[in-house]
Amino acid sequence: MVILTTVLSVTAVSVALAFIIIVAEYFFNNYGECEIDINGGNKVLKIEGGSSLLSALAGQKIFIPSACGGKATCGLCKVQVLEGAGPLLPTEEPYLTEDERKNHYRLSCQVKVKNNIRILVPEELFNIKEFVTTIESVTQLTHDIKGFKFKLPDGETVHFKAGQYMQLYTKPYAKVKESVYRAYSIASAPSDDGIVELIIRLVPDGICTTYAHTQLSEGDQVNISGPYGDFYLRGDCKEIVMIAGGSGLAPMKSIILDVLEKNIDIKMNFFFGAVTKKDLYYLDFFHDLAKRHENLRFIPALSKPAPEDNWDGEVGLITEVVDRYIEDCSEMEGYLCGSPGMINACLSVLNKKGMSDDRIFFDKF
């Protein structure tokens, strides 16, 4: 009897505590309806408080660029928050310069909407749209790179600058319970506005690339949004150097096709680096383009060709090959896309050849 009374007492206390916690959560975490005032009253959104500014805006179809899915690792989702943001979080500090802090920039993925908030957003972000696409084709380009063509719904088009990127949204799969999104550069030409081609390299253990490589096939419906980014051709010169590795070929393909279609008078030197031949793709495509267009020079290079590759092209690290081909690039612009290691190495060689940092462009994701 004593044991039963004790068990019942403990149970009653537990239930009471659980009830108190639920009630407390309701009152303390329920921020009610909040207003987001955008660009001095141009748009006023009413949302339920409690979510991040990034996801609150996405819920209202205003898409702020983000490559990491709101985990504060890419630093792309900056917006100016004039009022209502709360104190700067330690997670934001590495991404904000002194000037940006003075001008009230914040990472929108880290700002929680708890009250009315006033923000400034560049007008061009209102052009970003979300599309429910259908996969038209999936092509195995190398052992770890696939090309995906996403067909937009009939009548819909996406207007982008060659070099920009889209965000691809996953669905829950295997042990991954939540949807995530990541950024991928567009490989197709802007003129091909009913189709978006993305080139995705499988990142070992990566949530989104594993999803794309193992779950997606022709006919599947996939959500994408965009366009985003400020990696695009400036063209304030007569000649450019383009250097890519792996899936970094994607924005170069888009830029090259755009330049050729529009007959822009710029000479393009496109260096594409890999270790062995099995890492290269689109070789025939670019060799053929270069044969037909004098202003495109295509230089694929292998850093360690395998004997079976029978490779008679350039050999060496891509930086060494650039060093051999380019004498002085102080009047040129540089466009880079690849891994952080490759980009850092290329920055050094382009600087050495006279190119200033403000003439070198690359995506920071």
């Binding site: 590795g245 360690k304 994701f365």
Partner: protein, 152 residues
Amino acid sequence: MKQSPELAQIQANMMPGALSAHGFIGEDSRNLIDIIQSDLEALQQLGITQEALADKMQEITDIGAKGLGRPESMDEHFEIAVEDYKGEIPCPFKDKAKANKRQTHVRRLDTGATIRWTDLNIHMIREHGFFEGYGSPYRLAPAELVKFLGMV
């Protein structure tokens, strides 16, 4: 050992799908605190500190990274290939640290044995004494790793 609520929250952050497809715990049913303690004891028995081990791994990764994917040799002992991917991954210990999505593949030239680690492995060993749980794709057993690197 009893685990603090903070570590329990971190362990939840290590589950599949939170930061990576497979997570960091694998099939290990132990608490995070027990996984860490057990591996640090194993390391201590070998007379190696987690800092010394992380330093050695970082030295190898730095040498390999110069090859931009091409295998590089080190001291006639190792062949190293560093695969670099776009993007960064945050540390699951929520310490504000982020690591490049880089993988270092190391082959011993004398035995042909191979091992691989990520930049995040190096960080988690150095700062948190965490070698990942049993069955995790990137688990590094301390004794095997130390022996592989010729530190004992």
